[in-house]
């Protein structure tokens, strides 16, 4: 069985985020990056399947500049078998559809039985790439998996609104996007880290994938016009006293401001 895991490198959760000079994205110089937390769960799900089924191959795929190598090596250290790195300035500025097209081209070459991806990325929060990728490949998919089993077919418990869960069964090939917390993500053991030195990272360009001119900023249908920190409000007033007093004061305020 072959599993493809889509990984995005995003700013580390502890990184200090500032808007860049152009006001269109964050300042990416000198900040720490990590594998998107949702994708970490996706990778762990794949590795758990590999632990159970001998002969399973896990291929991680990522798009981005040189720094992405570090995330791919982390994935290899955790136990993935090999990596594909789409490293090409022509991919910069791709929207979800452009990203999905690149991943679809890799998936067509790899023909995986199963694709895992994080439900969304920690930076864009669009939750669109996974379903778009499945659609481009013409395979079934499900999203926000909180548990996963494979007994012949794939059974997924997925999270719905209001705490409800839905159980979905899919035939392979298929795509599953994962919710954080679905599993406890392992860390790379030293044995894994040393083994990763010998695992290949296959570097591709957009042209290698036959997508020249079809992805990247120029082809994107969604563009970020402006990124900014919302202006601070007028300030809050904290009401104190017993519950009855606070409720009384609150009602008085609402009336005073003519909100009712």
């Amino acid at each position: 069985m072959k599993i493809m895991v889509c990984i995005k490198q995003v700013p580390h959760q502890d990184a200090r985020l500032d808007v860049n000079g152009a006001g269109t994205w964050i300042q990416e110089e000198n900040i720490k990056f990590e594998i998107n937390p949702y994708d970490q769960n996706a990778l762990e799900a794949a590795l758990q399947l590999k632990d159970k089924e001998a002969g399973t191959e896990v291929v991680v795929v990522s798009i981005g500049p040189e720094r992405v190598t570090q995330s791919l090596r982390t994935a290899l250290g955790m136990g993935a078998d090999r990596a594909v790195h789409v490293k090409d300035g022509a991919a910069d500025g791709s929207d979800s559809l452009g990203t999905a097209k690149i991943l679809a081209a890799v998936a067509k070459a790899e023909s995986p039985d199963l694709i895992f991806a994080g439900f969304m990325s920690d930076d864009g929060n669009l939750a669109a790439t996974g379903p778009m990728l499945a659609t481009l490949l013409g395979i079934p998919h499900t999203t926000t998996a909180v548990s996963f089993q494979k007994n012949g077919a794939i059974q997924v418990e997925r999270e719905l609104e209001g705490g409800a869960l839905e159980v979905v069964e899919l035939n392979t090939p298929c795509l599953v996007t994962t919710q954080t917390g679905m599993n406890q993500v392992r860390y790379a053991s030293l044995k894994g880290i040393m083994a990763a030195k010998k695992k290949p990272i296959d570097v591709k360009t957009v042209a290698d994938l036959g997508l020249a001119g079809q992805v990247g900023a120029d082809a994107a249908k969604i563009k970020i016009e402006k990124l900014y920190t919302p202006p601070k409000g007028q300030g809050a007033e904290i009401l104190s006293g017993s519950v009855d007093e606070v409720v009384g004061k609150l009602v008085g305020k609402i009336k005073e401001l003519g909100l009712l």
């Binding site: 190598t69 570090q70 860390y187 790379a188 053991s189 030293l190 040393m194």
Partner: protein, 416 residues
């Protein structure tokens, strides 16, 4: 197919992709598994054997050991990373890991025979065995050459008699001895009554010291008293070990008779450097804690970080920590684990880092005031732990002596 190679700019703290990955693993391991148990094991003075085995599973006990024996075959920088990271959370546990992996396993790796390496290293790297180094005796510390434990040849065995004390990992609990130890003992051949031996002892000439691997289960080898109520490092187990005419097979002697002193010297650089690395971890955590507290705590209507007195503690501690860290990692990258040549700097790193860490922990306690003095806050533990590093693995005074002597012998060290 092609490989991207490594185009990362030089990073002193993680010079290769493997070091960078190790850094990530250590960060996660410490946050998820070490930190939650640290206070409790300090309070109860218990060694966490399960966590030790978990460190073995992750490969953290065999960082410098050869890959063919279950290690990672990495360098001194990696060993420093491990000791530093563990000490940001639990210096007591870090000390157990260091005593096992550096004082014991790395020593066997460098000084042991092929057969001994094959026997010991895979068990040490996995954490199946816990080991330690027996040097100090009840009446002999820094003047190690005056040790009194003896090993007398008796056919195919040596009979070892004596007592060793302050042995980290001497046991895993009150009743259970550690698994394997390097024991330094005097192997002078017996001479006639009042002969050569007595003459040498009287004239305090150096004895012939040899190294032996002594394993749990050998007759006459037992756990003596456990040292309780230590000021710090309470999550490591410190014990006295008793050798009562223990028959140790001759094949358990490391190297030749009389090579014990050489073995000690060969391992000193990495020992001192990793102990210095522990101090870095203590200082880093101390700075983190004081900065967080100084931002949150208010006095006279503003955060205390706005007061000059507090700023001095924070800034001095930060700058001293960063300086020591750069020094330790720079020496680490130059140390050849199978050679020597960094003795002076290894002594100097420990001399400077241990005192720096004690000052940083003290500053953190001062910034936190009454809260810092309370047991449930981590700084009082760090403050207690920091002190040991000025004593164990070479006292400050031993470093003073070594550094001064080395500079007198080799003044060219000061010219480049």
């Amino acid at each position: 197919m092609s490989s991207t190679g490594d185009a990362r700019p030089f990073d002193l703290l993680a010079p290769t992709p493997e070091h960078a990955l190790l850094q990530g693993t250590l960060r996660e391991f410490v946050a998820r598994e070490v930190e939650p148990q640290a206070n409790e094991h300090d309070r109860s003075e218990r060694f966490n054997h399960a966590l030790f085995r978990r460190a073995g599973e992750l490969g953290l006990l065999g960082v410098t050991l050869p890959e063919e024996y279950g290690g990672a075959g990495l360098d001194a920088v990696a060993a420093v990373q491990v000791c530093e990271a563990l000490s940001t959370s639990d210096p007591g546990f870090a000390l157990s890991v260091l005593a096992h992996s550096i004082l014991f396993a790395h020593n066997v790796s460098v000084n042991g025979s092929e057969l001994q390496r094959k026997h010991v290293l895979p068990r040490a790297a996995s954490g199946e065995w816990i080991g330690g180094l027996c040097m100090t005796e009840p009446e002999v510390g820094t003047d190690v050459l005056a040790l009194r434990t003896t090993a007398k040849r008796d056919g195919d065995v040596y009979r070892i008699t004596g007592r060793k004390t302050f042995i980290t990992n001497g046991g895993v609990d009150e009743k259970t001895l550690g698994d394997c130890f390097i024991v330094y003992a005097a192997t002078e051949p017996e001479r006639s009554e009042g002969g050569e031996r007595a003459r040498r002892r009287a004239s305090s000439e150096p004895k012939a010291i040899s190294s032996f691997l002594v394993e749990k289960g050998m007759p006459g080898f037992s756990l003596g008293q456990k040292w309780k109520d230590k000021a710090g490092m309470r999550a490591s187990f410190t014990a006295e070990l008793v050798f009562d005419d223990v028959p140790v097979p001759a094949e358990n002697r490391m190297g030749e008779e009389g090579e014990g002193t050489l073995h000690m010297m060969r391992n000193l650089e990495i020992e001192r450097l990793t102990l210095a690395a522990m101090s870095l971890g203590i200082a880093q955590r101390s700075v983190q804690v004081m900065v967080d507290y100084a931002n949150d705590r208010k006095a006279f209507g503003k955060p205390i970080r706005e007061f000059g007195q507090i700023q001095r503690y924070v800034a001095e501690s930060f700058a001293e920590w960063r300086s020591a860290r750069t020094f330790v990692y720079d020496v680490a990258r130059r140390i050849d684990l199978h050679g020597s040549g960094q003795r002076l700097d290894a002594d100097a790193t420990k001399l400077v880092a241990t005192q720096m860490a004690k000052r940083a922990a003290d500053a953190a306690m001062q910034v936190l005031g009454g809260y810092g003095y309370m047991g449930e806050y981590v700084v009082s533990r760090l403050w207690r732990d920091a002190k040991l590093l000025e004593i164990g693995g070479g006292t400050l005074e031993a470093h003073h002596k070594n550094i001064s002597r080395e500079l007198a012998r080799n003044p060219s060290m000061l010219r480049d």
